[in-house]
């Protein structure tokens, strides 16, 4: 214990270690609030590190904790700020905001979270019927009809005209349900195409060596099918604010248990939100997300966000059966030429680009903003998405890919 110079009495020691472990526990909580996946084992390792002399040197301790607690690049980058703010009390304004604000926002929203939990439970109970995962595929069609009839009165109302809270909640439910139905149907199509087995001769012979070469067990070649992957890039800027919440709910539905989907938010920069979205409880996920969605400053830098996406995420996220869905009004405040270039790069990588523009259905709207003009040549499907009906019209298109 190099942290305590002279040998202290046993009680005193105990007291010190109790304080340290309390502080450590608080730090772990802060990390978890910031989206780190920290388990018990990490906590124990951290405690043993502190006990063995690392605690005496903050720089070393920070570096050690950084390796221990980070699990991905985004963690890696924000760790130093969180550590400094917590242990050294340094006010790193821009960075510690991330640590402080989520906590501050968590406290007042505790009530909403509890409300949300109740709501979420209720919702999952009602949803079991139409979209039970393992149910035979014929249910998909029925589910769809049911979904449409339930949301009938809302399906053609523009999202921004939804007025009272109940209507909005209903629209959210419908969006989530719609997304879930799309998921089931797309997945079913994958199963149906798994036919066409061929015999794998080489492996058959190999497998049957133990029978003296008599082919008793046959080995078949199975085509490994990549399921369709949906990548959603949602514009969360001010100009889209009337639509953001419904789309967030839609995305949550898509991501929830969908095998292959990723979600990103952008305004002036890009944020990977799949992890935050994977939260089972929808209301809580939205809480976490609305924090991320609050843009720093105004404007929308679609081009720059796409550049970040192409540079850091595209290789990992996109494969040959990927559809990129961009939900944005196309009001680019940055460099429109850059947006064009990045769209071109993106188009080379993925199967299809779908651009959903809620403004498209407005009367007298024409795609004249510089951003959308630069992007349109690379877009495969440009569609309005301001009502539930227009969202559900997408499904047959996606299913064909």
């Amino acid at each position: 214990m190099s942290c305590c110079g002279a040998a202290p009495g046993f009680d005193e020691m105990n007291e010190v270690s109790r304080l340290v472990s309390a502080k450590l526990a608080a730090f772990l909580r802060t990390l978890r609030d910031n989206g780190f996946a920290v388990g018990l084992a990490e906590g124990q390792d951290a405690a043993s590190l502190m006990a063995s002399g690392y605690a005496a040197r903050p720089g070393l301790l920070r570096s050690a904790f950084k390796h221990l607690f980070s699990a991905r690049k985004s963690d890696w980058e924000k760790f130093d700020g969180i550590f400094d703010a917590f242990w050294l009390g340094r006010r790193v304004r821009s960075r510690s905001l991330a640590a402080g604000s989520s906590k501050a926002a968590n406290n007042p929203s505790l009530k909403t979270m509890r409300d949300g939990a109740a709501q979420g439970g209720h919702q999952s109970a009602t949803d079991q019927v139409p979209s039970a995962d393992d149910a035979p595929s014929s249910q998909g069609g029925e589910g769809r009809i049911e979904g449409a009839s339930r949301a009938e009165n809302l399906s053609e109302v523009d999202f921004r005209k939804l007025a009272d809270a109940e209507q909005i909640a209903q629209a959210h439910e419908a969006a989530a349900r719609l997304a879930r139905m799309m998921r089931t149907r797309l997945t079913r199509r994958d199963l149906a195409r798994r036919h066409g087995y061929r015999l794998d001769l080489r492996r058959t012979i190999h497998r049957n060596i133990s029978h003296g070469g008599v082919p008793i067990t046959l080995v078949k070649r199975q085509r490994k099918d990549k399921p369709l992957r949906l990548i959603v890039l949602l514009d969360a800027s001010g100009s889209m604010s009337m639509y953001t919440s419904v789309f967030l709910r839609f995305i949550h539905g898509v991501l929830d248990e969908f095998r292959e989907a990723e979600a990103f938010l952008f305004h002036t920069r890009l944020a990977h939100v799949s992890d935050a979205m994977k939260e089972k409880d929808a209301a809580r996920a939205l809480d976490r997300l609305s924090l991320l969605a609050q843009g720093a400053g105004g404007g929308t830098k679609i081009g720059e966000s796409l550049q970040t996406f192409n540079r850091w995420h595209a290789a990992r996220v996109i494969h040959s059966r990927s559809v990129v869905m961009i939900v944005s009004d196309g009001y680019e405040t940055g460099d429109a030429a850059l947006l064009g270039r990045e769209m071109e790069r993106l188009a080379k990588r993925c199967r299809r680009i779908v651009w959903l523009n809620p403004m498209m259905a407005w009367e007298g709207y024409a795609p004249e903003a510089r951003g959308i003009k630069a992007a349109l040549p690379y877009v495969d499907l440009y569609a309005p998405a301001n009502t539930l009906k227009s969202l559900s019209a997408l499904e047959p298109y996606l299913a064909r890919l």
């Binding site: 070393l60 050690a64 390796h67 690049k73």
Partner: protein, 289 residues
């Protein structure tokens, strides 16, 4: 506990110039007995870390290169079927004894993972590009990394004779599972800064003078800031430095022609090559003191 400075020192004698953070990671790796997960762009020297680690411990490096479709029989163990068949043919009619015989050590082919846990002196196990393997393999690996034992149905359970130092690398072509990430220590390997890159060049390339190395490192740093499709890694830098040394260039400013022509060591796509024209390369060279 080995101090991190000691570790950095030991690594540099084996030809790897580590920064303080990586040295800490390696110190932790030994302390906590956790695998180390290295992520970073291609060509920043992730694989080199494992090699340097092996030479630091003066132990064997066992490498498992992952690819799509990698399965247990090529990663863990396989029976030597040809030999088994031969044995069956040779001892025909003697069914009972032959069965015991052909499922024994003698007929077992070790693959990297099994080899790594059966050494007496702990080797360095490098699991390269884990992101290329399938999810199923990742799950299997996770089990192996926590128990360090393997069960072979015909032989029984094989416990690790020693716990290897495990290094995993990933290029980020696929998102790794949270479970695996949590199991490992994480280190993000970034492009080295100018000073470290210059030291790397000096350590690796015979005949590279201090001033040339510094110039090359600065030039490469400037090129990385250009908008390129494929940003040159450390391996490319070393290639380029070797080319310059081979062509007897002492100072980049003396030979702008050669500099431009040898840039092919750094630029690996047609698009990038077009982008860095003679003017651009001269402009960058002008900024390099």
């Amino acid at each position: 506990m080995k101090d991190r400075d000691e570790i950095a020192q030991a690594l540099s004698t084996s030809g790897y110039i580590a920064d303080a953070e990586l040295a800490t990671a390696i110190a932790l790796m030994q302390r906590l007995r956790r695998p180390l997960l290295l992520e970073g762009e291609a060509g920043v020297g992730k694989t080199e870390v494992a090699k340097a680690l092996a030479s630091m411990h003066a132990t064997e490096l066992i490498r498992l290169q992952c690819y799509e479709g990698l399965d247990q029989s090529s990663a863990l163990y396989e029976w030597n079927y040809q030999r088994q068949l031969l044995a069956i043919q040779a001892h025909r009619g003697d069914a009972d004894s032959i069965e015991d015989q052909i499922f024994s050590e003698k007929y077992l082919l070790e693959r990297p993972l099994l080899a790594a846990i059966r050494r007496d002196k702990p080797p360095v196990l490098l699991i390269d590009e884990i992101d290329r393997a399938d999810d199923e393999f990742e799950a299997f690996l996770l089990e192996l990394l926590s128990d360090f034992q393997v069960s072979i149905p015909e032989l029984g359970t094989i416990k690790a004779a020693s716990i290897p130092h495990v290094v995993l690398t990933s290029n980020g072509t696929r998102e790794l599972s949270d479970a695996l990430r949590r199991r490992c220590l994480y280190h993000y390997v970034d492009y080295p800064d100018v000073e470290r890159e210059a030291r790397i060049i000096m350590a690796r390339i015979d005949g590279a003078s201090a001033s040339l190395s510094l110039q090359v490192a600065r030039m490469v740093e400037a090129i990385r800031k250009e908008e390129l499709r494929k940003v040159p890694g450390v391996a490319e830098t070393l290639d380029w430095a070797a080319a310059l040394v081979g062509l007897d260039v002492r100072d980049l400013h003396d030979a702008p022609e050669t500099v431009h022509e040898t840039l092919m060591c750094l630029l690996k796509t047609q698009e990038d090559k077009v982008r860095i024209t003679r003017e651009v390369s001269e402009r960058i060279l002008g900024k390099v003191a």
